[in-house]
């Protein structure tokens, strides 16, 4: 006698363990909400306050990063935005390429870019030197001994 399976029973057993795609999906949404705040704040302070872009120079950045608040602000902006963007780009690679060498190459390149830029960006924020020796005094922030 043939047994007939219940309608809609899965053709293969459900995978066990952590569902990475699900966490990626959740990450896109959680990071998205945080990024609205972080990016709008970044753009407000850098483009709208005072003279906007015209006010940005080395001294401007030195002034911001003199405070741990802006250092950590930029740290979270960097990590949330880059990982969100790269994960979104991964979706596009999945959509527009077939599994195979090209797809793997693109994903490895994407991953490598993320690792390199997260490392670089984080080091830039936390090893920043507001008063590099030998620089023209007029380019340095006012709190430098040379300025």
């Amino acid at each position: 006698m043939t047994t007939i399976e219940a309608p809609r029973s899965p053709s293969r057993p459900a995978r066990r363990g952590v569902n990475l795609e699900k966490w990626g999906w959740i990450y896109m949404r959680v990071s998205g909400v945080l990024l609205v705040v972080l990016i709008f704040g970044h753009l407000f302070v850098n483009l709208l306050v005072g003279e906007g872009v015209k006010a940005i120079d080395f001294g401007f950045v030195a002034g911001k990063w003199a405070s741990p608040f802006w250092q950590w602000y930029d740290f979270f902006l960097l990590w949330f935005a880059l990982i969100h963007g790269a994960n979104g780009m991964r979706t596009l690679v999945n959509d527009y390429t077939n599994p195979g060498k090209v797809q793997t190459t693109l994903k490895v390149a994407l991953g490598a870019a993320v690792v390199v830029l997260l490392t670089l960006g984080t080091l830039v924020i936390f090893t920043f030197d507001a008063c590099p020796a030998g620089s023209p005094a007029e380019l340095l922030p006012s709190f430098c001994p040379a300025a």
Binding site: I56, L78, L82, G85, L117
Partner: protein, 141 residues
């Protein structure tokens, strides 16, 4: 229909339009355009961010190097580019919030189309506030 009285076959009077494939689904409607725009703006912001982390890294090279490159952000052409960039981000941000609402809140799922027009309206308002102020900064001083 005088033609059919003679027995010849005539083409339907209104072809194509009504039988457009997939017309009942996303295709061609707000749902598709919001998705296309969300995708294009997301990619654009991503590539900007790659460059932006590199240009900011110049603060570790020297004040001179950083000032030269950030000076390029202050030219009129780049000023217009910044309006485009901010326009892309503001759309992606508002539409992203719309996606999140549609995913988690059944009222929003039912009213996704209305929410799309709210996104457009908020985008227009935000850009009306941002653009004049930014362009005055760029074109004066």
């Amino acid at each position: 229909m005088s033609e059919s009285a003679t027995g010849t076959l005539t083409a339907p009077e209104q072809p194509a339009k009504r039988s457009r494939p997939g017309g009942t689904l996303y295709r061609g409607n707000e749902g598709m355009w919001s998705w296309v725009l969300h995708r294009i703006t997301g990619v654009a912001i991503f590539f900007f961010l790659l460059v932006h982390i590199l240009d900011t890294a110049l603060v570790r090279v020297s004040p001179e190097a950083y000032n030269v490159v950030i000076g390029a952000y202050q030219t009129p052409i780049m000023g217009l580019g910044e309006v485009a960039l901010v326009g892309a981000i503001v759309f992606h941000a508002y539409n992203g919030l719309r996606i999140i609402l549609v995913d988690f809140w059944s009222w929003a799922t039912r009213h996704q189309r209305l929410l799309f027009y709210i996104v457009i309206a908020l985008w227009v308002i935000t850009m009306l506030g941002f653009t004049p102020r930014h362009l005055i900064n760029v074109f004066s001083h």
